[in-house]
Amino acid sequence: MRQISFSDIEKAVKDVERGWTLQSAKVPLRNKKGYLRDPIHGYHALSSIDFTFLDLPPLQRLRYISHLGFVDKIYPGANHTRFEHSIGVAAVAERIMKTLSEKHKSITPRLAIDESEIWTAKIAGYLHDIGHLPFSHASEAIFEALDIPKIANVALELGDTYAPHELFSYLMAKTEFIQERISTVSKQKRLSLDAQQISKAILGIPKGEKRYLSDIIHSSIDADRIDYLLRDGYYTGVPHGHVDIDHLARSFCAIERGKSIWLGIEERGLEAVEALYSSRDVMYPTVYLHHTSRIAEAMLKHTLFFAHRDGKINLLNLLCMNDAQLMAKLGEIGYRDIADRFLFRRFHKRIMLIRARDIECKGKAIDELLRKGNENIKKSVGRINEYFSSWKHVVDLETEIISKSKLKEGQVLIDIPKNFIGLPKTEEELDPEDYLPVRLRRGDSEKIWRLSPIIYGIETLSKSMRSCVIVAADSSLKKESIEQVRRAFKQEFEGRFNLDLASSTLFERNA
């Protein structure tokens, strides 16, 4: 199976750029103003600059990419797309920038924020998701499995790891097509837009001393997160996705540290931040990681993997496809049955769900042992997580189970998230770099989890308690075959890791 290289990615982005150029002759700066109604952010004005970016082919493509992948098969209202989300992110980014501008210009001239900076944040908001693939995160998984982010990370000399869509968005924002649009707008509207700064903001990489510009788009409390929680909660009908955006937007502040200016949160906004963290924490098991959605994503990941392995698809072509085009492509290359399963909601059925509390060592549940700080178990668990961080090992396990159960490739899928046996974290293991600082009323700053028991609890414990493995099987399999798969999984898992699975994992209520 051919490994995708960074030069393959660069070439694919160039091909996408060529397509944009063919689709639109030089897009003139539309001297048009207008208004937009958005169910989340209300009625707001759009200028000619907004239209310049909204009219671009990469933005228009996002109209046909579902925001939540296959979640609409569970929550039928979740039909929103990446397009309106990008508009929302730009709107929130503008709101935060205007807050900073009002707060600081009279206090500290150095922090004065001009119109160019507001547009920088807004344009970064528009462009932040242009690298998304069909069905959003659902089709990203195969790129992560093939280590594409690591390859790009090394080639671009980035200090952090990013999701595939973030890297693709960054590379696309750096193309001549986009950079030239930014430069045209800058000249015609007499702004000083820095095209490089806009593309770096997509990855949260600061340029120069004004680091808040990148934090607004990519940080722990950013415009992206605020919009998607509100939007996803609204469209799914799940009430947990509430964010007090009015209070939160007014609570952002700029904090000087050394020569740099960072984005922070004022202490008075702490409760609004806590509500955001709680929302996110509850939306994950309810919506984003709903077991049916995970199974559908696992089916797509495996389909793309088999197609790539057998040379039937160039995965990088997904960069210019939308949802419908991918389904059509699957039909063309001999995966009509799979495409129909997605279209007509005939997903595999969950037959096992395994959490940390279902795994035992000498009769004791390992989540309890981990909470008690058993270092040996912690090391064993860490090694298991490391083992399954490689897609190859997951496929090995599936192959073994399929062979033992005398089934065909693809009839059994295992979805193992990263660090599936979540390790509760101590305070020192919380990474301060993952959180915005809080500016206290007395003037200094503090780490957010030291001020909020809710955020502390969520960040130290939640993932360890919510994470789980899902084993799914073709819904047409007979009961005997399903039982055989469960026994084979238990045997394989226990044999490989010298840990026991609780016997309750052999039973599934509705299977």
Partner: protein, 146 residues
């Protein structure tokens, strides 16, 4: 577990400094200071990519490395209570010390001298208060335009 050259260098520095490194945060900042001063002559340090965050220069790859070395028993993370905070103090296992000794012994005299100098600096920085080490790392990072 087999180690890459960067990991072997880090183990070697801890070994030669004869120090118990006081906390993950301090370890990060010490490595950044050493990298900024010596990476031209010690290219293994270039694999540690740092970014300037609000709390100072930080390397995700070094953070992952510490986790791996701890999980595989090369580093011991001893929990120490400091006021109201729990800190991990890092020492080497016997196996890691052996690996570090072998790595050091294989180096040429010039590199060994440089490793010793870096280890001495690691020891000195480890003894300074955390805030001073963070401030120093922050200053270097800003001057270098990180």
């Amino acid at each position: 577990m087999s180690h890459d050259n960067t990991e072997k260098l880090v183990l070697s520095l801890v070994y030669r400094s004869k120090s118990k490194i006081a906390g993950k945060t301090k370890f990060q900042k010490i490595m950044y200071i050493l990298k900024s001063e010596h990476q031209d002559r010690m290219p293994e340090l270039k694999n540690l990519r740092f970014r300037l965050h609000y709390y100072g220069p930080f390397s995700r790859s070094f953070d992952d490395m510490l986790t791996r070395l701890t999980l595989h028993g090369d580093l011991f993370a001893e929990k120490k209570e400091v006021v109201d905070f729990l800190r991990n103090d890092y020492t080497l296992s016997a196996r890691a010390k052996l690996e570090a000794r072998k790595f050091y012994a294989r180096e040429d005299p010039l590199r060994r001298e440089l490793i010793d100098r870096m280890a001495e600096e690691m020891k000195r920085l480890n003894q300074e208060p955390l805030q001073d080490v963070i401030s120093k790392a922050y200053r270097i990072a800003e001057d270098k335009g990180l």
